[in-house]
Assembly symmetry: C2
Homo-oligomer: 600 residues x 2
């Protein structure tokens, strides 16, 4: 190695030794008689002194040409820093390296993105992505990549301890039924045919269970040909696993253990097992969302049964047409949200389909008891207000916010309000981590497909067509699909779905019923999933699995909001070079070959 130590490891106990470091010039300060340089590598910063008497004059002179991001190899004497010059913020802050010689390994032009810049001094993300190699030098990015590495490695260790086999499934395969658009890869060898990049290894891992592999795991690259979003990349990574001879609790229990290990080893947090668990119906009822943020309360209260007793037309007509009136009671919210604040919330909920925002404040009543008041209070009798207040647990200073709409509409609006208010009123410590399960998802939902009106209203699988219903709901498959709940489970962290899985159908008869319900005829099923249907007939074991979103996990464990900050070379729409992954042009020969095959 060109060095004896890294820039992060020298301590006061190393004083007196002669060492060689390599790294980048992070900053330099000319003190007249010599130069101080902070030398940086992935491991840390070390202060280098180019001063007499340790540094010969020639090297002091040469050191004056050093600039930010120059790469040097420097040898010198480790010395304790003089009294008063220790830097407690730096792991190496008790020493400095007094250079006796150095070698310039490479120069650097003035970087358009400075790796040592404070976050507030950084240029815009577009420029940082364009010069990704400089952006990736920033310690915060390096910590994110190291966190990603550590999380992944700890997961691999855990799954090895539990007898899982890491098996690589193909990237070049056949179209799978995940719902999003596939990336297609024309085949030169098979004219007119295309490979598809996998949206998940779902079918492969099920076949692996049927092939007897018992416990499979893979950190799998997956692809969806969809437009970019702040939290979505067309190329993403999934920690994908599957187990045979299991029931739902075996999978969730396995992941419980993983969560406990990761929380402890990565964040030094103790997690109590088993993780809390609620059904989908409960989550929607209490929080309006299937991945509720349980770091705070602010639960939804349903007032549908008493709301029509008022003279408030909106409530009456919504309930009459089968809708719901639901509300959240924001403790001390009246203080936080002035009239102007409520106006802002009203604008906010319009983005989620609400026409307006009915609200009440808890005020001090004539007898000192809290009473609800509002610009619509006149439509409500005192008795009704009292009953509502009691139901909501409203106290003086609280703010009550309503949604009156179809069930799912109230869920959408109140979830959005709840999330926004939780953040704005700091109802939780951002360092809190809350892990839980949501289970018993509906098997089916009515399709909403604007692109394909024929599909509108038809049943589609909420997870995928291989999900097993609850055993006691098997009968609903034909009689009442809406009631049918699945053996499905989502891992929720801080209000984000970190992963989801299901127990799979392992008998051909149930699989066939589900296909029928989904309008997948035999021929189509055979064409798309033939190999799976075949395998089902040759001794398929009960099995199930889960997939965790690795990008999301890194974001959640690192408290990182931007998905592009947890991926070394993310895709962007604007940048056009390899590093940021936008597609390039191909040469004429390649294009000609492709055109021949695709233009059919």
């Amino acid at each position: 190695m060109l060095r004896t130590h890294t820039c992060g490891e020298l301590r006061e106990s190393d004083a007196g030794s002669v060492v060689t470091l390599c790294g980048w010039v992070d900053s330099y300060r000319d003190h007249g008689g010599g130069l101080f340089v902070d030398l940086r590598d992935r491991y840390g910063l070390t202060q280098i002194a180019f001063n007499p008497p340790d540094t010969p004059e020639a090297f002091i002179e040469a050191s004056k040409d050093l600039r930010a991001e120059f790469v040097i190899q420097v040898t010198g004497n480790v010395a304790a820093r003089p009294e008063g010059q220790h830097n407690p913020k730096l792991a190496t802050g008790d020493i400095e390296l007094r250079a006796t010689e150095f070698k310039l390994l490479n120069k650097a032009k003035t970087p358009p993105v400075s790796p040592s810049a404070k976050v507030t001094d950084l240029p815009g993300e577009e420029l940082r992505l364009e010069h990704r190699f400089l952006d990736l030098r920033r310690p915060v990015m390096q910590r994110a990549m190291m966190l990603r590495d550590k999380l992944t490695k700890r997961m691999r260790d855990y799954f090895e301890e539990h007898g899982f086999i890491d098996i690589e499934t193909p990237i070049l395969g056949r179209s799978t039924p995940e719902g999003a658009r596939d990336y297609l890869v024309p085949s030169r060898v098979h004219h007119g045919h295309f490979y598809a990049l996998p949206q998940s290894p779902q079918l492969y891992k099920q076949v692996l269970m049927m092939a007897g592999y018992d416990r499979y795991v893979q950190v799998a690259r997956c692809f969806r040909d969809e437009d970019l979003r702040a939290d979505r990349q067309p190329e993403f990574t999934q920690v994908d696993l599957e187990m045979a001879f299991v029931e739902q609790e075996d999978i969730t229990g396995m992941i419980d253990g993983l969560v406990e290990k990761l929380a402890k080893e990565v964040l030094d947090i103790d997690v109590q097992l088993p993780l809390p668990c609620m059904t989908y119906d409960e989550a929607m009822t209490r929080f309006g969302h299937d991945a509720p943020d349980l770091r705070f309360g602010l639960e939804i209260v349903d007032l549908t049964d008493i709301a029509p007793q008022s003279d408030f037309g909106v409530f009456k007509s919504v309930v009459e047409s089968g809708g719901h009136v639901r509300a959240i009671c924001v403790k001390k919210g009246a203080e936080h949200y002035s009239r102007r604040g409520i106006d802002a919330l009203t604008e906010f909920v319009k983005g989620f389909g609400a026409k307006g925002l009915a609200w009440f404040r808890g005020e001090k009543g004539p007898e000192g008891n809290p009473v609800l008041n509002s610009n619509i209070a006149k439509f409500f009798s005192d008795e009704l207000l009292a009953e509502m207040g009691e139901r909501l647990g409203a106290e003086e200073g609280d703010l009550i916010l309503f949604s009156a709409d179809k069930w799912l509409g109230t869920c959408k609006v109140l979830h959005a309000l709840r999330t926004k208010i939780g953040e704005e009123m700091k109802l939780y410590d951002p360092k809190d981590m809350h892990f839980s399960w949501v289970v018993e998802f509906p098997m089916f939902e009515r399709a909403e497909d604007a692109d394909n009106p024929q599909a509108e209203g038809k049943w589609s699988a909420m997870h995928h067509p291989f999900t097993a219903p609850l055993p006691e709901h098997l009968e609903f498959l034909e009689s009442d699909p809406e009631k049918c709940r699945a053996q499905a489970y989502d891992l929720v962290i801080n209000g984000s779905e970190a992963g989801g899985g299901t127990i799979r159908i392992h008998d051909a008869e149930t699989q066939s019923k589900v296909f029928t319900l989904l309008g997948i005829d035999k021929e189509t099923a055979q064409d798309r999933f033939g190999f799976l249907l075949e395998a089902l007939q040759y001794g398929a074991p009960p099995h199930g699995g889960i997939a965790l979103g690795l990008d999301r996990m890194v974001m959640l464990f690192g408290g990182i909001d931007n998905i592009r900050d947890v991926i070394a070379f993310p895709k962007t729409q604007k940048a056009s070079d390899l590093m940021t992954g936008a597609p390039g042009t191909v040469d004429a020969r390649q294009l000609k070959e492709l055109a021949v095959k695709v233009d059919m």
Copy 2:
């Protein structure tokens, strides 16, 4: 879990306990009064007895419907097998499970590929690939997948111990300069543009070094749009790493340690470090190949200097036109290869471009000393034969085989002969493992490109255009490229290249010289490698790396000849379903979208 134990773990010490197993019926034997079933899972086989008195009559009756590959869950009493019925070949051979009840989890049709069949009873590979899920149930396939998992995990552990960070690089990127054809992926979002699937993460990992990541590793999926071969798949896996601030010995030393660990932990073999090392020139001189099989000798002897002294026209004319006469002396080869055997070898070498095969036998001379004899002996004087015999170390019973051709032609023929004879004469134990390095490869070779006559005779990079020359050969870059040797190193295992790497160029000036030599003009370089060239200007550290072929490593460590036996779902040319990876058809909507973009 539906089981308390696996089918591989019960021992005599478990006798008396009540357990539940799950698995596949591997075989069954009706003994009149009851049934014996060997139950199989990934962990082993356990004998289940459906006999009175343990098994109730109803279950004995039901058990008679069991057939091969049925999946069952069975509960019973663990009992030591009766005296004389122990099976020492089976880890569970000292016990049997006496069933008290069982449940049929799934039926199976009669499998076209029987997982319990002997290798000799297996159907052809095509049928096995078509029913891959059954083929994958065979214990030998499961052992291969577990070996792959273990090798990979041990590598990951090793690299973690040595401070490497696992960083995922994109699958969807830009065309890279690896030489083979890229798979192209049309982009929906960017009309007329294509992603390319990576042939290796080469450029990304170099950029990661320039971004300060210091030590990078990735088990990376790579792609080459080439026709299938017995030892090549279009989608393959590379253990890819890169280190900054290193010299060649740091990389080879790091891999030495990896090899030592893998050999010990996977094969229980002790490897002496450092691994032996020879230059490319030495390998070609002594063995005719840059990845010599060092499990045996049979080295090449050069007779070019004395061969023209004979009257044998072929030798004379070859040497006159600048060619070489080289030979191998096969100890006791005369016994092994009769005249008919030599005829077969002659046919064999014609496949490698030889016109014929000159040979001699070591026979007992008049004074008891060995003399060379052959059908061409008359063209050689006794003195010359004696000198040749001495040079070759020929003894009575040896067989000497010649190649007279251009240097590379003799290498090709003698390497082929050496490999074939080593195998046929069992010159090594197939369980032997020999690890070594070959270093100092030529930087450049003359292109041979039948598709592109204009490129014929031009210089091309033997590794890739980012490879650094030996420092002392820098001057040859312009004066004598042929002499220029690279800081390149291949890991060779048993005559196979298991991996290869180089120290990279880290200064823009040398990089520019190499591009010029390779005929890559500035514009092209900028277009293809612009981001790398940019990064070179902003503080690039000295760096280098290596990539190990994981598929190859598994084959070598497992003694497995067929690459499709180390990949769960390999590509084949004939099968057309997802499991064997041939491309499928896409629907009309998908096709239309693509056609719009590709037909430009």
